[in-house]
């Protein structure tokens, strides 16, 4: 096969390149306007102005008040603050300790919820998801008890791209007076983030998922939300997130969010067409392949697949050889292939659940990239199937070892 010069990046759900317009907007905040936004002198005031401008920009996109926006160090940190802060606040005020989550949450939510069992004796109920990874708002309603203090459902799943009915779940929670948190890290630039329309009380975002810089996230927390800070320190970000604020990062996040929101509709139309060509082409060309996640209620840039008997991580390694960057949702434990917890929750049989292949499109991708994938992927899957008949275990182990070395 001829190796093309260009590397094709199809892993925009993992991270995105920073938009040059964002780099430009951040440029003054490293060495020129470098002040601590808490300082009262001119340097501090300049930084504070930039920070409050960024806060206003984010608030405009989310349809909320600037005071309800706190900048954090990452999406994970925002999720942690939301869950731990809400659970602790509720526990301290004696309102209960029951939390409703889904089995397909990102670890930033899932592991934090599990830790709340240890920290505050919270009780966790996981509502089930259907074969597409979708949550039924009626199931959320049924899971809510008098002592329920928080519901957390992600806006869209990172592994299979399924979009959850957040507005319906938000309404259920609002009617019952229960706080509703959503991890919207995958949703920015792809779905509406209007918190009033979604009836969301807490929302987490991460800049690097939408062409902003790494190391900065946002926690939206509705004004009357009782939230105890999970970090202790100064009064930065109204005490919700102590620590000197990353002003350049906040400016970068706000700029990136404004840009993806402005370009959202057009870009989604463009990416959805590419995505659908990718999906149709792969399902047509590769026997015993299936789309994972919802066929229509899915992120516009996101296509994920399972190939019967083929481990996702092996496909990823072979794609990398062909200069195509993709990812797999597979989790490897002790060198053995283990079904992904997301696919397991969706009830995918084990021979299908050895990890999906995720192809997530972005700004730079075009028709030629899709053509290239459709050219090489069928051969890779066929080769893996042929080789795994002979030495499947070894192949699995090799790829899992590599994945572990990479620290996945």
């Amino acid at each position: 096969m001829n190796k093309p010069e260009r590397y094709i990046y199809l892993d925009h759900s993992a991270t995105t390149p920073v938009d040059p317009r964002v780099v430009e907007a951040m440029a003054p905040y490293w060495s020129e306007i470098f002040g601590n936004s808490e300082s009262s002198h001119a340097f501090g005031r300049a930084a504070a102005n930039a920070l409050e401008g960024a806060r206003q920009t984010v608030a405009d996109v989310l349809g909320c008040r600037p005071a309800e926006i706190a900048f954090t160090g990452s999406g994970t940190e925002a999720d942690n603050l939301a869950l731990r802060g809400a659970a602790w606040g509720a526990r301290r005020s004696g309102r209960g300790a029951h939390i409703v989550v889904t089995p397909v949450e990102h670890h930033a939510v899932g592991h934090t919820a599990d830790q709340l069992v240890d920290l505050f004796d919270c009780e966790i109920t996981q509502v089930e998801v259907d074969e597409y990874g979708c949550v039924d708002p009626d199931d959320v309603a049924a899971a809510i008890r008098p002592d329920t203090v928080l519901v957390s459902v992600m806006a869209a799943n990172n592994e299979v791209g399924t979009v959850q009915p957040i507005a319906e779940i938000g309404r259920v929670c609002r009617e019952r007076g229960v706080l509703f948190h959503t991890d919207a890290v995958q949703a920015a630039g792809r779905l509406s983030l209007n918190v009033a329309e979604l009836d969301v009380d807490l929302m987490a975002l991460s800049a690097h998922k939408f062409y902003g810089p790494k190391g900065v996230g946002v926690l939206y927390a509705r004004r009357d939300t009782q939230l105890l800070p999970a970090l202790t320190g100064g009064e930065h970000e109204r005490g919700r997130r102590p620590g000197t604020v990353n002003v350049a990062g906040a400016v970068g996040l706000a700029t990136a969010l404004r840009l993806v929101e402005e370009e959202r509709e057009a870009e989604c139309v463009r990416l959805r067409a590419l995505r659908d060509r990718l999906i149709e082409g792969i399902l047509e060309r590769i026997p015993e392949s299936r789309l994972t996640g919802h066929p229509t209620e899915r992120l516009a840039h996101h296509a994920s697949f399972a190939f019967r008997g083929v481990e996702g991580e092996s496909v990823v390694l072979n794609l990398d050889q062909e200069r195509i960057a993709a990812s797999s949702g597979a989790a490897c434990a002790e060198g053995e292939p283990e079904p992904s917890f997301v696919l397991a929750a969706m009830g995918l049989p084990q021979e299908w659940g050895l990890g999906s292949l995720r192809l997530s499109l972005g700004h730079a991708n075009d028709e030629a990239d899709v053509t290239r994938v459709l050219e090489v992927l069928p051969c890779i899957v066929a080769q893996l199937r042929a080789s795994e008949v002979g030495d499947g275990a070894k192949l699995f182990r090799t790829s899992c070892d590599r994945a572990q070395r990479r620290g996945r």
Partner: protein, 366 residues
Amino acid sequence: MEQSSFARVVIALSGGVDSGVAAALLVEQGYEVVGAMLRLWAERGPDEARANRCCTPEAVERARRVADLLDVPFHLIDAEAVFKQQVVDYFVAEYAAGRTPNPCIPCNRAVRFGMLLDRARALGADCMATGHYARLRQIDGRRQLLRGRDPLKDQSYFLHALTQGQLAHVLFPLGELTKEEVRAIARQRGLPVAEQPESQDLCFLADGDYRRFLAERVPRLFRPGPIRDTSGRVLGQHQGLPAYTIGQRKGLGVGAAEPLYVLAIEPGENALVVGPADELGRDECLVEEMHYVSGETPAAPFRATAQIRYRARPAAVVVTPQPQRRAFVRFDSPQRDITPGQFLVLYDGDVVLGGGVICRARRPVL
């Protein structure tokens, strides 16, 4: 169970009466029986010759005589390494963490029904048998584990951690018998083990003194530390946390107007927390490493009875499964001795549902 489907059986012999009778019954039922005994790790004394009290040379000799009498082969299988790692190291680590372990359960899971079952299968046997007092039943292609018929000898508590994969290859010939009936059978058949006393817990100790054993291995555990009440008031000094367990009253050496009990062990601050009886009861606990015999974790809360240690009176509970193989277990009435490290085993009548390790009593919701 159809004996034709289990032609060859490996019986785990201990040199005691129970396994001897189990072997004799299997032979009489027509199985092709193979005897096997595990050589387990034991602490070495100054003479380097101490044996594990469960597999002393005398016990091995008795087991061999039983095998000879029944005319079955006998294998002595070295399990020292796996036993040391899975049972003894666990025992020490649990005490070091301020918990009260039960080594028989990892021993059954990893050694007897782990390594020995693997060896039995390698010897061409379809299954293995032991002299435990427990019963098995097959329902809808699944194995159910039940209490032994003799309520005084029921050992199902120790077997709750077995998986469907293990139970599918196991026989308990004594499940329907009482200890008296077993002794009678032994006498009747002339087995040389009829009058053997009951085997002992903590078989790997040279002298039965686990405090000395721990003190030699982890001396820091026996640093004296404060005995305090729940308000933080220091009442006296303890001589090392492994000497105590939750609910213990005797041996505290603290004078008080009313009897005091151990409420909590705090290894972080090397403190023993004590209080009067009315502070002892807890009606809920968090259980970890939950295992369900059926192989399936229930999705919704369910009612069951629970034993919080071997021979504890079964108590009515509601079990609420949590992610990461955990569960909250709520007791209908408060329990005085919910002890971290002990196994909580769930039953539905005589049927073992599963169990896990008690992590801690739950603090009451404010």
